[in-house]
């Protein structure tokens, strides 16, 4: 069936089966490979994208058709090149990633978390990211990265230097 997905501000007309999961539509129909697949039980979170600017969803738990009519933001829409989002910058600067497989999703979950709570405590961050697994970092530097980004986002002027 033909549906229209609004991803990162762009319309994608895609032909999918009713059972096609959003993550596969994004990866295979829209060519956006930043959302990954790591499990078949909605446990790992590496497929996380953001819906309507603030709701983090595991895109393997949603059918592509259900995403019609929503604004979907993926890592590719967050920032790139010289215009990295403060979260992308902070993950790099705080060494919040190793193999990178969980990273786009970790950043998208963090993004949603900061929309709801611009000044999270360490505990808030750890709880907020508990739907996202990482096997490499032990999470310490991910927490630091989110703290840095939160501070940067609260003071955009300072962060610009």
């Amino acid at each position: 069936m033909e549906i229209t997905l609004n991803v990162n501000g762009q319309e994608h007309k895609v032909d999918v089966e009713p059972r096609t999961l959003l993550v596969y539509a994004l990866r295979e129909n829209c060519g956006l490979k930043g959302a990954h697949v790591g499990c078949d039980s909605s446990s790992c979170g590496v497929c996380t994208v953001v819906l309507d600017g603030k709701i983090p969803v595991k895109s393997c738990t949603m059918f592509a058709v259900q995403a019609e009519g929503h604004e979907i933001t993926t890592i590719e829409g967050l920032g790139g090149g010289a215009n990295l989002h403060p979260l992308q910058k902070a993950f790099h600067e705080q060494h919040g990633l190793q193999c990178g497989y969980c990273t786009p999703a970790m950043i998208m979950s963090s993004y949603a978390l900061l929309q709801h709570n611009p000044d999270p405590s360490e505990d808030d961050i750890r709880r907020g990211l508990s739907g996202n697994l990482c096997r490499c970092t032990g999470y310490m530097n991910i927490v630091k990265a989110v703290q840095q980004a939160a501070a940067d986002m609260r003071q955009p002027a300072e962060a610009a230097d």
């Binding site: 790591g38 992308q88 190793q98 497989y101 990273t103 750890r126």
Partner: protein, 789 residues
């Protein structure tokens, strides 16, 4: 940064070494622009799905693919019969056994691969796989190595020897050890089971296999930690000339040893592309990954320590029963069927020791891999660190004091262990003292005594482990006959930028940064001008890949020595440019200068330009080299870890209050990356100590096939870590580095478990096996009569 770096051999100020340079691989990952195998799509590519066995042990009476073939988009279905035509129904394992690719006349474990379906889409392939009808006749299941040992049911009917026993491997002096134990004033026994676990990188195993029928070249995009070794294996197995095989290991989403073996799925995809002439993609589902990837550990160990009344150890004996599953697919160097388990004397000066391992076949998934581990050193460290704590308790000594009494002393290095290793260097006392001070050991013991008086439960666990990594010297180490050296190629371009290629393959370790740092340091170049490339067998020099913490000890050495070889040539060019003889040139402050005349100097970059524009007369133009480094010995990193736990006596919940980890991995290339590796390894140690375990029932049913039941800790469970380092360089390594990726996984489980046992010891608890669930602690407390409230 590490909170504390105590450099025991302070070196000069460096240009690139020892600096926390931010990772150069990050840019693509934070933008979602890495390229993992599943991201690769080729024209006309088919998708493969696998049919798995529901039985752990059964005969196959028939396979009917008629209905499955009717599914739209399905192009072919293959079974073992089809593979037999190519001699691919069985393949050799890394351990010198063989394993079925697709089940022949029988299945040997639950979820074993039975047939492979090729279709235009992933969904069609999965749909069709469900329609393949297989007629099974169940056989008696042996899911326990102790039952297997009885040889009542022989599992491997294909083998000549009608027994489930795979090997007995032993090392050390059995008689002397038995005698020393018999004469010991104190004898302490300790049993420990290291559970079967799955390494679980978040990216499952995957392949895109592409046979170009016009050129005859087979390209495999593969989740491979060892692309060259895999190319050789593929060539040997298929008969395709090695030059016609290209393996590309693109970005890898974590490996941890899981991506070392050659799995049946890979072989089926390769067979598919060869037969069908179009590319084939297979990406394991998590369930497939959990049930068919090589497991790790599954060691039933028993140790006995002999000691004097004063607490000096006199002998160690460790015996193990190992469950290898249906085929012996352990990934170990050929000479070492139980890996480097004989490091089990650890950091302690045992005058005599003996160890033996007996391995058995069972109806379980084959393995095992060295999960973030240098070939069974994880099991060995866990055993000795648990046993040392138990011995201290029996002797009524503080476990820290007992360790100090028995450490191998700094002056004893190089130290010859009773089980045959030559430890390169170490300073166990200093590292341990740093850890004790940082954690505030004495105050903690006081606090514990006060809490105990009030009936509160708190424990302190210690692990002062020694690792053995960097396999290895070719005199002892090979896999399938291929010696375990590693190669590096360095090419300096005319403008002074560089491409470095190595036979290793980063899966998150950060080689694109650390390899550049080594070369930058040796040649006085900018890190930013050095591009590092790994993973393409067409371009990278041969090497055995990245696992067992071997990259820095092997490829790191190749890079340093290759760069030094380049420096020798650059020196001749410098002499030519400065119009003096090479003997008058010295390498000073990252420049070539006329001896004693800093004003007359040229850089490596100047020499690179001259190498292409104005070469030294009589010298070959260009500036590049390939260096193969065969390490003279292994390296022996060590560390001192201390864990503090509080236990809730009503629920049995264990809270890790603090975890201090002081590592000594020799020279540190990048402190930020070392610390990151340590964090990750401590988290995986936590996972094994408290959460992860693969469980089978008696019928061989795999009971936790996904992350809903196989528990991976999140940010919410994983405790905070306090890290630090001491630096005792390796005397034989070109830059003194030892490797670090696995120390924390090797060293930490015993610290966590020792802490829990220390906490529960007033209640007579001396045993608890990993993973330490709340239920286990709860029952121990209730059994000891501790009131919940």
């Amino acid at each position: 940064m590490s909170d504390q770096i105590k450099d025991l051999n302070p070196a000069k100020e460096c240009r690139a070494m020892g600096k926390s340079i931010k990772r150069r691989e990050d840019a693509r990952f934070v933008q979602g622009r890495g390229t993992y195998v599943d991201d690769i799509e080729l024209p006309k590519m088919l998708h493969m799905a696998i049919v798995h066995s529901p039985y752990a042990h059964a005969l196959i009476k028939g396979i009917d693919t008629a209905e499955a073939l009717k599914v739209p988009g399905v192009k072919a279905i293959i079974t073992a019969k089809d593979l037999a035509g190519f001699n691919l129904d069985w393949i050799p394992t890394l351990a010198g056994d063989k394993q079925m690719v697709l089940a022949t006349d029988r299945v040997m474990y639950q979820y074993q691969e039975v047939a492979a379906v090729f279709a235009e889409t992933r969904a069609q392939a999965v749909d069709a796989a469900q329609l393949v009808e297989v007629d099974y006749e169940p056989l008696e299941v042996v899911a326990d190595p102790f039952k297997a040992r009885e040889d009542k049911v022989i599992l491997r009917t294909d083998r000549e020897k009608k027994t489930n026993h795979i090997f007995n491997w032993n090392v050390g002096d059995r008689e002397a050890t038995d005698k020393a134990l018999a004469e010991a004033e104190v004898r302490v026994k300790q049993k420990a089971y290291y559970p079967r676990v799955h390494a679980s990188p978040l990216e499952p195993c995957a392949i895109v296999a592409d046979m170009n029928t016009a050129t005859g070249r087979l390209t495999l995009y593969l989740t491979s930690q060892a692309p060259h070794a895999h190319r050789t294996v593929v060539s040997l197995v298929t008969g395709i000339p090695e030059s016609n095989i290209r393996i590309v290991s693109p970005d890898i989403g974590g490996g941890f040893g899981n991506k070392v073996p050659v799995y049946p799925g890979y072989v089926c995809a390769a067979a598919g592309t060869i037969v069908l002439g179009v590319p084939v993609k297979w990406v394991a589902t998590r369930t497939e990954s959990m049930t068919t990837d090589s497991f790790a550990r599954d060691f039933h160990m028993e140790a006995e320590i002999g000691a004097t009344k004063e607490g000096k150890v006199t002998a160690l004996k460790v015996t193990t029963v190992a469950d290898h599953g249906a085929f012996d697919a352990a990934a170990d160097p050929s000479k070492y069927p139980a890996g480097l388990f004989s490091i089990c004397t650890g950091s302690y000066d045992f005058p005599t020791a003996f160890t033996e391992v007996d391995a058995y076949y069972t109806n379980k998934t084959p393995g095992g891999v060295a999960y973030r581990c240098s070939f069974r050193v994880t099991e060995a460290s866990y055993m000795i660190e648990r046993a040392m704590d138990t011995a201290a308790r029996e002797l009524n000594m503080d476990p820290a004091e007992f360790r100090f009494k028995n450490f191998i002393q700094k002056e004893q290095f190089p130290y010859n262990s009773p089980l045959g290793w030559t430890y390169d260097s170490g300073d166990y006392e200093t590292t341990f003292k740093v850890a004790l001070e940082k954690v505030g050991y004495e105050e903690l013991r006081k606090e514990q005594a006060e809490k105990r008086a009030k009936g509160e439960i708190m424990g302190i666990g210690i692990s002062t482990f020694t690792e053995i990594v960097g396999a290895g010297p070719s005199k002892d180490f090979d896999i399938l006959g291929i010696k375990m050296f590693d190669g590096a190629e360095i090419r300096i371009h005319p403008t002074g930028s560089v491409i470095v290629r190595a036979g290793t393959k980063s899966q998150g370790q950060g080689h694109e940064t650390t390899w550049a740092q080594i070369v930058a340091e040796e040649l006085g170049l900018d890190v930013d001008k050095i591009l590092v490339e790994e993973g393409d067998t067409d371009t990278a020099p041969y090497g055995l890949g990245t696992y067992a913490s071997r990259s820095t000890p092997t490829a790191g050495g190749a890079l340093a020595l290759g760069a030094r070889r380049i420096r020798e040539k650059a020196k001749r060019i410098a002499a030519h440019l400065l119009e003096v003889s090479a003997d008058d040139i010295e390498w000073e402050d990252y420049k070539f200068q006329i001896k004693g005349v800093p004003s007359k100097s040229v850089t490596t970059q100047d020499c690179a330009f001259a190498a292409y524009t104005n070469p030294a007369p009589g010298d070959e133009p260009g500036l590049e080299t390939t260096y193969y480094y065969d390490p003279p010995n292994l390296t022996f990193p060590h560390g001192a870890y201390i864990c503090v736990v509080d236990i809730d006596k009503s629920t049995g919940e264990v809270k890790v209050r603090r975890f201090v980890a002081i590592d000594d991995c020799g020279t540190i290339i990048n402190p930020m990356i070392v610390e990151g590796q340590v964090h990750g390894g401590l988290a995986e140690g936590f996972a094994m100590a408290f959460m992860q375990e693969i469980v089978y029932d008696e019928e061989g049913n795999h009971l936790n096939t996904n992350y809903t039941d196989y528990l991976i800790p999140t940010a919410y469970e994983v405790p905070k870590f306090e890290t630090g380092n001491t630096v005792t360089p390796s005397p034989h390594h070109p830059i003194g580095a030892k490797g670090v990726g696995e120390s924390p996984t090797v060293g930490s489980p015993a610290a966590y478990v020792n802490a829990v046992i220390d906490a529960l010891s007033p209640y007579g608890v001396s045993e608890i096996d990993m993973p330490i669930s709340r239920e286990k602690v709860f029952s121990k407390l209730r059994a000891a009569g501790v009131e919940a409230f």
